[in-house]
């Protein structure tokens, strides 16, 4: 049991940060992201004895995160509105802070399920098939939700898009939908 506990502690320690980033991209709010990750990790811990036999704890945790996020959005849908500026966007740690902020604001305009697809596909770097399996939908659904989500994202970004090529992509996506 001691080994199990240590492994669990290590898993939480290593995965909490990356999960928090994903959670923030999903919900656009640090407090909500903290709650989301806490709920997810608690569920993972409560899975307890089964974790020793879970084939892919990463996938289990990701799916739990997405499930908690989507179900929480159902309950909180009326509370959720695109933000003019996301709360809790203190000094950025790296990358392009202005662009990052703009993308996160734009993400909040994307419906939750499409947002989940975008985060899994383009932040977590999962394939279409992996994303489909994790969300329990078909690869075709992942592709269509991804395309729609990106169209919404880019439309919301507007002039903030980093280059003309990206804007051309937006037009192409909109034409396909």
């Amino acid at each position: 049991m001691g080994g199990h506990d240590e492994a669990l502690r290590e898993f939480i320690a290593v995965r909490r940060g990356p999960l928090l980033r994903s959670a923030f991209l999903l919900c656009g709010d640090m407090h909500d992201a903290e709650d989301l990750v806490q709920t997810t990790l608690v569920k993972v811990v409560l899975a307890g004895r089964r974790l020793d036999r879970i084939d892919n704890i990463e996938a289990y945790t990701r799916r739990t995160l997405m499930s908690v996020f989507i179900s929480s959005r159902r309950r909180m849908w009326r509370r959720e509105h695109p933000h003019a500026a996301p709360p809790d966007t203190a000094a950025a740690a790296g990358g392009d802070p202005d662009m990052g902020l703009a993308v996160r604001v734009a993400l909040s305009a994307v419906p939750p399920r499409q947002r989940a697809v975008l985060v899994l596909r383009y932040w977590e770097d999962l394939s279409v098939e992996e994303t489909a399996q994790l969300l329990g939908v078909s690869p075709g659904t992942v592709k269509s939700q991804s395309a729609r989500g990106l169209a919404t994202l880019r439309a919301a970004l507007g002039d903030a898009l980093p280059d003309e090529a990206a804007r051309r992509v937006t037009s192409a996506e909109e034409a396909r939908l």
Binding site: M1, G2, G3, H4, L8, R9, I12, A13, V14, R16, G17, L20, L25, Q38, L41, V42, K43, V45, L46, A47, G48, R49, R50, D52, R53, I54, D55, N56, A59, Y60, T64, S67, A91, A92, A93, G94, G95, M99, G100, R104, L118, V119, R121, Y122, W123, D125, Q133, L134, G136, G140, K143, S144, A147, L150, P162, A165, V169, A172, R176, L177
Partner: protein, 345 residues
């Protein structure tokens, strides 16, 4: 609106370009977050574990599963074993424990003393996501390979001190007792090897028991908590259990159904539920079959939970499963109420 498959028709290069831009956008959004890279602090980890602990205490057990020394299992199993005259199957006996402290001590887990051979199927998880059980982690004591007869009381060998001290494979032991308590035709009983050493003293009866019949495999996850044998095993109070909803939908897998709490005439609390199939962990390749769960808590704090599953299929599973759970709900309720579980003490 285009059909999703229409996307297959778009130019590959264009799609790749889309993906690159999307990766870039999400990468900028994620990388610029004010969240430090690196491991979480000890306090943050502790916060998660404390939160889980509170829920666990409030709602139910989260057992990792029992593990026992094979020699101790044999010793206690021998003590458990029905007498040759068949007079000690103890069905219906009150669940009083007669265990001595030394018996409890002898059942303490020891990774070095385990002799059970891990089953290839041990990686499969089919347990429902609620309940007291949680095994499949116990050692398989001396291979109790087959149900000896449909009249096990007379077929079981008498207690043998030799078996007790040497751990010689025998039909005696926990699997033999389980075998003796099951209805005829349930299947051949053997105990699955353990994979986890719990932090508490496991009851020698606790563990996963595989049932095989006609080339198909089901299983029973049995957890026994006897205050005189394994008092350090975490357990809920009757009030906590009564307040627990085992059918709560966590939104991860299909929830349990038919949850019920019934107070028996002797003051015991019997909790039951049905577990649908497909309750395996998300991302797992194997598929759990449906099962039933019964859990009794006696007024003195002793408890027994048994989960009867039709089996686990798919990679890492147990092979073809039973068409139905190996026991009916009524049979399971009778089994869990047996006083025989406490005769080992």
């Amino acid at each position: 609106m285009n059909h999703p498959d229409d996307l297959h028709g778009i130019d590959r290069t264009e799609q790749d370009s889309d993906d690159m831009h999307a990766h870039r956008l999400l990468g900028i959004a994620g990388d610029s977050l004010p969240i430090p890279y690196g491991s979480a602090s000890t306090a943050q980890v502790d916060a998660v574990l404390r939160h889980a602990g509170r829920i666990r205490r409030r709602r139910r057990f989260a057992l990792v599963g029992g593990s026992a020394v094979a020699v101790a299992a044999v010793a206690l199993g021998t003590a458990l074993m029905p007498r040759a005259d068949g007079s000690s199957s103890a069905l219906g006996d009150p669940p009083a424990s007669s265990a001595s402290p030394s018996a409890a001590a002898s059942a303490a887990p020891s990774a070095t003393a385990r002799t059970g051979t891990p089953s290839p199927s041990a990686s499969a998880t089919g347990a429902p996501r609620s309940g007291l059980h949680g095994n499949g982690d116990d050692p398989e004591p001396p291979h109790t390979s087959a149900r000896p007869t449909t009249t096990p009381k007379t077929a079981s060998p008498p207690p043998s001190k030799t078996a007790t001290t040497t751990g010689t494979p025998s039909t005696a032991g926990p699997a033999a007792l389980v075998n003796s308590l099951l209805p005829a035709g349930t299947g051949t009983v053997r105990r699955e090897a353990d994979r986890v050493t719990p932090s508490y003293t496991p009851n020698p009866m606790s563990g996963r028991y595989l049932l095989t019949k006609n080339g198909k495999t089901a299983y029973l996850d049995i957890t026994v908590v006897d205050k005189k044998v394994n008092a350090d095993q975490p357990r809920p109070t009757m009030a906590q259990e009564r307040a627990t909803n085992h059918c709560e939908d966590f939104g991860i897998v299909a929830p349990n159904t038919d949850c019920a709490h019934v107070t028996l005439p002797d003051g015991s609390l019997l909790s039951t539920f049905s577990a649908p199939g497909n309750q395996q962990e998300p991302g797992s390749d194997h598929v759990s079959g449906p099962g039933y769960d019964a859990w009794i808590i006696y007024p003195n704090g002793n408890q027994v939970e048994i989960y009867a599953s039709s089996g686990i299929t798919g990679p890492g599973g147990l092979g073809p499963r039973y068409d139905q759970p190996p026991l009916t709900k009524d049979q399971l309720a009778s089994l869990v109420k047996s006083g025989a579980w406490f005769k080992s003490s």
